[in-house]
């Protein structure tokens, strides 16, 4: 069993009057993939947005309870959010490369975080990140072309390279394959398998099959509550909770 990287205790999130998460207690293990599943609006994205304090940008959002990374409270007002986001990268549903070159997309993060002072160092970071994102071979001769000129799947891998470039510890993925075709999806899944050796990964997905394929642990959310969490194999073969079973078998009414 790997160490716990992130631990939430009685985590509650409110968007104004509306409560989006109710007392979520969830441990995410280091160098493991945790999949979060559940119907739309169940709180899974809200949960991962707590990990890198993305909810801060929403004025009416209030977070109570605890969420710790390596024992340090993420929700602490005095925490340096910029350095938190250096440690916790994020990849979104739709690939969103900056309107810049492939090279600049990857080097942007290290530059603003003060990494890679010389051109050589930056070159190295870009090459390393693109290689880790399994994109290097496809783009090494066209690094100056705009990131947006790549195919959807390549753009998503570029976004993963961008996330990796600042050497994070955790990568959050919010439905990273929902806009991709099966081949591009397979490449991202293969990549996730590789990345979990280095990073702690949390993936939100609507595809049960994807959750089974990529994750070691799965959490099922419903109406803001974490209904069941356990080993992925157990959740999909023989879940304890009837609601989990109804959801994964397509019986949700």
């Amino acid at each position: 069993m790997n160490n716990i990287k992130i631990k939430s205790k009685n985590l509650n999130v409110y968007y104004g009057e509306k409560q989006a998460l109710y007392d979520v207690n969830l441990d995410l293990n280091e160098k493991e993939v945790t999949a979060l599943i559940g119907p739309s609006g169940c709180g899974k994205s809200t949960f991962i947005r707590c990990i890198n304090r993305m909810n801060d940008v929403i004025d009416i959002c209030k977070v109570t309870g605890n969420i710790e990374m390596d024992g340090i409270e993420i929700n602490d007002k005095d925490l340096d959010v910029v350095s938190l986001r250096e440690r916790v990268g994020m990849v979104f549903q739709k690939p969103n490369p900056f309107p810049k070159s492939i090279y600049d997309n990857v080097s942007y993060g290290p530059k603003i975080h003060g990494k890679g002072e010389s051109k050589n160092e930056l070159d190295e970071i870009v090459e390393h990140s693109l290689k880790k994102a399994a994109l290097w071979e496809e783009v090494k001769d066209r690094l100056e072309e705009p990131g947006t000129s790549l195919s959807g799947g390549q753009q998503q891998r570029l976004c993963i390279a961008r996330a990796i470039s600042v050497n994070p510890e955790v990568i959050l993925m919010d439905e990273p394959c929902s806009a991709l075709d099966p081949i591009a999806t397979a490449k991202i899944e293969e990549l996730i398998d590789e990345l979990k050796k280095t990073y702690t990964i949390v993936i939100v997905t609507h595809s049960m099959a994807q959750a089974v394929r990529v994750s070691q642990k799965t959490g099922f959310f419903h109406l803001g509550k974490l209904i069941e969490v356990g080993k992925t194999e157990k959740i999909f073969k023989n879940p304890d909770n009837k609601m989990t079973q109804d959801y994964i078998t397509g019986r949700f009414g």
Partner: protein
């Protein structure tokens, strides 16, 4: 029981699969009963009918196979649905084997003399009745998703083994009295062994039903009777 699937045709496909398996089960049970009757009554006229019914059982097996392939491809079943689908595959294989063994036993009726003594067939008859009861019970446990009933069947395989041993002894005893009995006694020994094997397939089904219901395998090794321990 769970709610119905949002996709109605998925619900129907799973129900068709269960129905096919139940029909295959009841056909297998009748065939086993018929083959047992044929031996006890040395009824040579029923042999062809039993052989024909085995073809029907085999057809059910192919039909169930293709239903399962379709479900796996179309629905990628999960949790209870996955267990239901995979269990159907395993149970249909065991039923088909029981069908084969019944057919094999029916064929053994041909060389039997019409005047077999009662004391020779009594133990074989008891064994046959027990295996038929076991099959009936395990199918019942499948239909009603009754875990305890399936587990009872699993535990009772020990009795099947013990009765097999006793039935074998009586055939061997009969054989040792007069070597002229050698030819048909050999057939009866094989028929006895076939019944014991059919009992093993029933036990397999019981294990599958337990897994289907609880999602975990029965712990510990199977209860073993005398015939198995001696082997």
């Amino acid at each position: 029981m769970s709610n119905e699937h949002t996709v109605k045709s998925y619900e129907e496909e799973l129900q068709f699969l269960k129905d096919s398996l139940i029909n295959m089960g009841s056909l297998t049970e009748s065939q086993l009963t018929d083959s047992m009757d044929a031996i006890i009554k040395v009824d040579k006229d029923s042999i062809d009918k039993i052989i024909k019914s085995d073809e029907k059982i085999n057809k059910f097996r192919s039909k169930i196979d293709s239903q399962i392939m379709n479900l796996l491809v179309k629905r990628a079943p999960m949790a209870i649905d996955l267990r239901e689908t995979i269990s159907s595959l395993k149970i249909s294989q065991d039923l088909e084997r029981i069908g084969d063994l019944s057919k094999s036993n029916a064929k053994k009726v041909k060389p039997l003399p019409l005047d077999l003594p009662d004391e020779l067939l009594g133990n074989l008859k008891r064994l046959g009745e027990l295996v038929i009861k076991q099959l009936n019970d395990v199918l019942d446990s499948y239909v009603n998703k009754n875990y305890n009933k399936a587990k009872d069947v699993w535990e009772k395989d020990e009795q099947v083994d013990d009765l097999t041993y006793i039935a074998m002894e009586s055939v061997i005893d009969f054989l040792s009295k007069d070597k002229k009995n050698l030819d048909f006694s050999t057939h009866l020994i094989f028929a006895t062994k076939n019944l014991e094997r059919a009992g093993d397939h029933v036990t397999n089904i019981a294990e599958t039903v337990c897994y289907l219901i609880k999602g975990e395998y029965l712990k510990g090794s199977r209860p073993k009777g005398k015939v198995v321990q001696d082997n």
